[in-house]
Homo-oligomer: 417 residues x 2
């Protein structure tokens, strides 16, 4: 049982950002930044300011890595540095420590008044498809019950390349995309604003290591090559996707935007929340045989909020529903020699649980629009309406220790003319 | 009819790099670079050296854009600068000009002794699928005659996201990838080196403009947002691809490597080789209606060369076989608001002609291995063997004016243990 630590910074018991978390982000505040910070309670710890006080000198971290608009150079320092910095920051923040506390005013920033930026430069973005329930649900709707789960699905963490340029940080509004679709029963496609706009409840991990072309990351080493995780909304235009995706996969149905939460929660912070691996019922090839306890129990939820209205939680899911875990995904991704770079992102794929209230997309929650969701204001939703805000939250909790992700939110604006 | 110009630099009549071409690349030579250069005959014109002589001062180009290891900052200056620099370089290189010639020794580098680098930092890489013959051939083999050309194919320039990190420059060897495949007739996948290694004869264009998320590039403006073109070998592991690609598209079957030629041939240089657009026999939506003459007549060929052996040209194709042209591809790519960045690459997809000797992949040339290719040394090839080098070449020629791409080559090395 992990020991519940207290900081000299007051942290509400239900805060996602306890001293056990210490997630990394890029913030901008009056006369600071964009630069690296760590969230704690309602504050951001300015890492560059801490380094300038000399309090991190023993770690031999070049202090300029904290003064940049992305975390890539810091992350590239590698796992031993991530772990030693985490240990040192924990020490500095504990309530019996007097090294940092006298400088509180100079190193702490009000979190809610800061602007958060995309925390990494994403070189390549890959999206997996690793929730069995999601793959089954979508398979039934797009291809029928007979072909729902493809023959390869339990042998391969199926994934595909996504668009890196359109990854945006939480809070950035998203215009409804326009595109080409084929109306049911027609043989002539039409052009216009997407009519079936959806979210996908995902997490994503940030790669923390550069590899050379030809190099593979063995599954035993894969977790140490992962810096941390974020919440991820893989916005999807279902009507565009349906018309375009055979045979080469989703393209414009996805590439208009993907939203990430601003705080990267490290694997070290998630360590207390490990659970047994998902019981895979088909044997996998040796390169995909996972070490034990590579799954994490993280509560996830999606809320929908109309403009000026009251939000409604429309899904409660959990990261534990992933059939394939992150080391399996990364080992598979690199087994062909594909090189990865620090800052690359790998989305989990939509995380749907086993019950209808735990599905991770409108497509599944309303079953293709057949079961609309009733909103508190009396309106209904089959898909996402203009001026709706989609909010995803996630946290792990055990033995009184809470480690959360904050949220990723995004408002849908009408299509541009 | 374009006028055939002569330079004070001797250029062989069959050189790809006549004064009409002036393609851009990043070279490294003794005490120079990596930095920007322009190929002419057997030389490279060192653009930074030319700028330092003050000979480009009237163009107001920041000279440091030529002293960087990628062309992105130069390309970002935009089409008017590309065009004015091309005009000025043409002037400086013409045989009646005496401004640059006295400085020849300081600005010219022996091209064959220089090392060429990847010319751009590729943010995102997209691969299209725009040759009707290729799509039909592959469709027949993977899905049968009935489903060969999907219903969307003549309405959409079908494309998908590829892997940017594994794009390499010509001359870089490629290790045979390893991966998971499903042997015919089996229900248990196996792991090992790819057995059906293939090339794909493609070109790719380099995006020359940054757009904002939500912004679309209208088809009338699309060509001016393209900096230039290269030859592109989209290496493919057919056995890995076949097992993984349904339903989300190719992934590890492609991501182990894609090779590009080092010299970017500008659209301005290709202007004399315009031909009428491909006669599309199905009406397209207005956003895809192409302006006239957006197709180019560029001869393409693929040669195969065993180690220490003699090369054999195994395919002669042409860029004109593209059903969808580049402005159609870029307009489609951005119609949903997907932002593009300078340096982004868009592959054409395999360019196959109408006759069996013009197909752009081994898969098609040998028809899935049923018709092996005989090599000069008496061996045969169904797919690519270890230590084979695949060489692609391309050039346009008209009225005695030749504008070529040079080549993209890559040797296949055995799978890493």
């Amino acid at each position: 049982m992990a020991q519940n630590k207290q900081s000299w910074i007051e942290v509400a018991p239900n805060s996602d950002f306890s001293i056990h978390n210490l997630p990394y982000g890029i913030f901008e505040a009056k006369s600071r930044g964009p630069r690296a910070g760590v969230a704690i309670g309602d504050y951001i710890l300015d890492l560059y300011a801490v380094a300038r006080l000399g309090l991190l000198d023993d770690l031999n971290i070049p202090s300029n890595v904290f003064q940049q608009p992305v975390l890539n150079d810091f992350i590239a320092l590698g796992k031993p540095i991530w772990t030693s910095l985490r240990a040192r920051l924990t020490e500095l923040l504990l309530n019996d420590n007097n090294e940092l506390q006298p400088h509180a005013e100079g190193v702490l920033v009000d979190r809610l008044s800061a602007t958060m930026h995309l925390p990494v430069n994403v070189g390549d973005y890959t999206d997996f498809y690793s929730s069995k329930e999601h793959a089954t649900n979508v398979g039934i709707m797009f291809r029928g019950v007979e072909n729902a789960l493809m023959p390869n699905w339990k042998h391969i963490p199926v994934g595909y390349h996504g668009r890196a340029s359109s990854i945006i940080v939480s809070g950035t509004p998203v215009h409804r995309p326009k595109g080409q679709t084929m109306p049911a029963g027609s043989d002539t496609p039409v052009f216009g604003p997407c009519r079936l706009l959806d979210f996908e409840l995902e997490t994503a991990f940030i790669v923390g290591k550069n590899t050379q072309l030809g190099e593979s990351i063995p599954i035993e080493e894969a977790e140490d090559a992962i810096f941390g995780m974020v919440l991820f909304n893989d916005w999807s235009a279902r009507d565009i996707q349906k018309w375009e995706y055979v045979p080469l996969g989703p393209f414009l149905g996805k590439s208009f935007a993907s939203s990430m939460s601003p705080w990267i929660v490290t694997i070290d912070a998630l360590d207390p929340f490990r659970i047994e691996n998902y019981p895979q019922d088909v044997p996998v090839l040796p390169y995909l045989e996972s070490p034990v306890n590579k799954r994490f129990d993280v509560n996830l939820e999606v809320a929908l909020k109309p403009k000026g209205g009251v939000e409604k939680v429309i899904s409660r899911s959990n990261f534990k529903y992933m059939y394939w875990n992150m080391p399996q995904q990364l080992a598979h991704h690199t087994v062909n020699g594909c090189n990865v770079k620090v800052g690359d992102m790998c989305g989990s794929g939509t995380i749907s649980g086993t019950t209808p209230d735990s599905f991770g997309s409108m497509l599944e929650l309303t079953w293709r629009g057949e079961k609309p969701i009733e909103m508190p204001d009396g309106t209904t939703r089959k898909f996402i309406a203009d001026y709706d805000t989609v909010i995803m939250r996630g946290f792990a909790e055990k033995d009184g220790i809470r480690v959360g992700f904050g949220e990723v939110s995004g408002e849908v604006l009408p299509a541009l003319v």
